[in-house]
Symmetry: C2
Subunit: 123 residues, 2 copies
Amino acid sequence: MEWTFRADAPLYTQLCEQLTFAVVSGVFAAGERLPAVRELAVDAGVNPNTVQRALGELERGGLVYTLRTAGRFVTADKARLEAARRALAEARAGEFLRVMEKLGYDRAQAAALLEEREGDEAT
Amino acid sequence: MEWTFRADAPLYTQLCEQLTFAVVSGVFAAGERLPAVRELAVDAGVNPNTVQRALGELERGGLVYTLRTAGRFVTADKARLEAARRALAEARAGEFLRVMEKLGYDRAQAAALLEEREGDEAT
DNA sequence: GCTATTGTATCAATCACTTAATACAATCAC
DNA sequence: GTGATTGTATTAAGTGATTGATACAATAGC
């Protein structure tokens, strides 16, 4: 998996987000075992503790679970994964609408703005 | 004007955003004089330096200008204000689409999600 | 010209947070 | 049972950024 980090936010935060997106969107399949903490750490070029901290968040959200010495696994509960994906999307949508409203765009205008956009390919 | 600060981001950042939104959406009219740095500081309950820093950002964006001892004024260039408003909206839209894409929503689905939402009044 | 009010500059300290090193614990595999 | 591999806990230190106190500078207004 590809890791990219900006300098304007903590590593563990970005790690958490990227891991969440990966899990929720199926990069790691439901029930699949994740690479070990140390492995992920080497792969991403960060300290194992940092990975640990990020994964702790995922665990609290029920997206992954831990078998003490066997490793971490993505939950097998596909409904839960889908619900999480949806919840993330809803949250982002909510934030987006709040900000747009402060800028004087109502819901319809905000939606229209999305569709009008040209050439914003997210490489 | 109403100030609200969260604890999860620097004051000057939030101040900057709130001032930008206020200026761009006409809370302070084009050409109007802004309250003095010290006045805003008292009003918002922060240090004058913090206000100064935030306003510096607005100035760099051409939204306000300074007359050394007379105060700060919103630019009289309404086109510029409108352009800034639009640019902010576009930027947010772009971010939103990028994230939604990572979550597996294409542009149309993202837009649809906005319109489906119920009861998300931004009090 | 004097004074009050404006923005500006400087400097320091505190504060919190992130990151890292290291050691511990448990159990799977053989 | 032994060792390798897993996650976990503890602790420290760097580090960097934010905020605040204070002094400076310029000029508008009377």
